[in-house]
Symmetry: C3
Subunit: 162 residues, 3 copies
């Protein structure tokens, strides 16, 4: 068992989640191989989203998740198989997306099915995809008491209606 | 510190959660010793549920969590003590159970208190149990805007009432 | 890569979360160096809370989180940098706080930014702090069906209004 590679790949995935949720797009780009592919999306509402190449992935995320949108991709349960300079991994994650301007919150869970490649001694994500266990959306209008006490991306947080 | 055994036991627990939530019952059976015991349940609503033997655990889960029921058992915070071919571990987990037919969602958190045993070089769960920190249930009726955008187990997802 | 120190620091953080959420204050004290500092708080609602010294941290938590208050600090995504006998780490966490007497639930996520120090071979937390990604509060009054099925700290759990 290559324990060091295991730590490196786990660290890579944590960096993916952190730089995505903290909107650090230059560091986010660094977690992918140049030819990385991504397969995101929700069967029930739309065709899965397929992105080809690091630049396409980063551009998509930068455009979709900017502004005051809050995202949390919370990853755990790594099951990693290493095979020389490539590896495959599954992860459970729970995601929270809050769009203050639309007054909605989206919560869900899925299993990532990733591939990794080591180039010049550095592990990167060569493919990322997931299959949703569930995803739900609810409007703030159903929770008139709801207060957004903190939003890292905005001082202007919705206050209760009452 | 036996780092390899540590990785194997963590991987075992992740396989437990994944095969449970993905309803892969044959693989789920493989994570338990034949004489495994389980102790699940919620003090406030019922007597704890005690199951004896791998077959009893798998049968119970297969019957209780089939159909279009969504479950997520999200585990982290492993604290594992290894003692030769046996080990003990605690884990924090958060669980989400959505029963679309009853229009309810259950959320909670607990600490697993597990025992593991290595037989012929393979770690398995010999006892699994937990003590709940909390558990709550809420009806979809309180959130008329709620949309279940994806359910891995059903194309037929509840839509908003309005 | 010092794999053993990595395991020890991760275990330390898990002990922090577990002893905090299980209100085991004597064990909780043990995770800190005597001169530990803490920086908690939510920009939107109040000044950040700064605590100096292990005793101040433990006293604050013991006073603030006693009784039947439910807390879950669920930590994952460790990114740890070790430098001899000191280390720095970031962690994503999601927290749930339920105050039955006030009928409110608080949910949020943040990134911990910690420092660790090894004294006489034992790693302890020398600084703990976080920056919130988001935090929200909602009243039970918006969810008349809500049942608290279990609370580790009380037999007396709120029942649905209907």
């Amino acid at each position: 068992m290559d324990l060091v590679a295991l730590e490196e790949i786990r660290g890579l995935k944590y960096r993916y989640a952190r730089t995505l949720d903290l909107k650090r797009w230059d560091e986010f780009a660094e977690v992918f191989t140049e030819d990385a592919t991504a397969n995101y999306g929700t069967k029930a509402t739309s065709e899965p989203l397929t992105l080809e190449g690091r630049d396409a992935i980063v551009s998509y995320m930068r455009d979709a998740l900017g502004g005051n949108i809050i995202t949390v991709h919370f990853c755990a349960q790594p099951e990693i198989e290493i095979n020389g300079d490539t590896a495959a991994g599954t992860w459970c994650f729970e995601d929270t997306v809050i769009v203050p301007d639309h007054r909605v919150m989206i919560k869900g869970s899925a299993y990532y099915e990733d591939s990794y490649r080591r180039e010049n001694g550095v592990w990167r994500i060569s493919h990322i995809g997931y299959v949703r266990t569930y995803e739900l959306m609810v409007s703030f209008d159903d929770m008139p008491s709801l207060q957004l006490l903190a939003n890292r991306w905005s001082e202007d947080v919705p206050q209760p209606q009452a």
